[in-house]
């Protein structure tokens, strides 16, 4: 599979959406298409969709100054690596009480559904969330 290996480095998809509720479904659909290109099960694809949606929701609800969410998906044969960032600072935790969720529950779901999760939300900076989903049986 030399061709596969040669071209692996360019198998990156980048999506930029406005940091608004109505665009989360766009991210969800796009990532479903990406996950569909790896050998994930239907259930694993749903996991990835939900994790990406939770990440976007986190940007929308906890980065009041963000206007853009950037999703970068790197496809390796055995895993999908997704980075979600926004370009706005979260207000130092004071606004975290949004009653519609997307905070701790969202991060909890992401950690439950994905294999590796690196989550950073530095004071005054936007979200940085890196998550990996491995194709079952590839470990």
């Amino acid at each position: 599979m030399t061709v596969q290996q040669e071209s692996e480095s360019v198998n990156v998809v980048e999506l930029r959406i406005p940091c608004k509720p109505e665009f989360v479904s766009v991210a969800r659909l796009a990532v479903a298409g990406i996950a569909n290109r790896l050998h994930f099960t239907v259930e694993e694809i749903e996991d990835v969709k939900l994790a990406v949606a939770e990440a976007c929701t986190n940007c929308i609800q906890h980065s009041p100054h963000a206007n853009e969410i950037v999703l970068t998906s790197e496809m390796a044969p055995e895993e999908l690596r997704i980075v979600v960032r926004d370009n706005g600072g979260g207000r130092s935790g004071g606004e975290e009480s949004a009653e519609l969720g997307g905070g701790r529950l969202g991060i909890f779901l992401i950690r439950s559904l994905m294999d590796d999760v690196e989550y950073r939300r530095d004071e005054g900076a936007g979200l940085f969330l890196r998550m990996v989903k491995r194709v079952a049986g590839s470990t």
């Binding site: 479904s25 997307g102 905070g103 529950l105």
Partner: protein, 114 residues
């Protein structure tokens, strides 16, 4: 709007809320509004039918949790009808399966309420 919300009376005091579509950060405010209105009108026994829901995220769960908190102040209840394994899994993972009554069919939910 990618969610349809329909409210109808069931046996006794119970109100059924049929949800069809996807519940996410964009659509959950509509769900919340419908539930809030019912509670404001004095309906504290809610049966939320998720059979037509193919996707729910933490904002949707947050709306359901919020509803439960409010009706409990009036000795009310929130029961869910859900057969979709992916959605059941979300309730399992989050432990919410323990705080809601979750039923496979509307019939079994109504029977349990009676």
């Amino acid at each position: 709007m990618d969610i349809k919300v329909n409210v109808r009376p069931a046996d006794g005091e119970t109100r059924v809320i049929d949800l069809v579509g996807e519940i996410d950060v964009y659509t959950s405010p509509a769900v919340k509004d419908a539930i809030t209105q019912l509670i404001d009108e004095g309906h504290y026994h809610l049966l939320i039918n998720l059979e037509g829901v193919r996707y729910i995220d933490s904002t949707g769960l947050g709306v359901l949790i919020g509803a439960l908190k409010r009706v409990r102040e009036h000795a009310g209840s929130v029961s869910l009808v859900c057969a979709n394994p992916q959605i059941k899994k979300i309730f399992d993972i989050t432990g919410l399966v323990k705080i809601f009554g979750i039923f496979e069919t509307e019939q079994s939910a109504i029977k349990a309420l009676a």
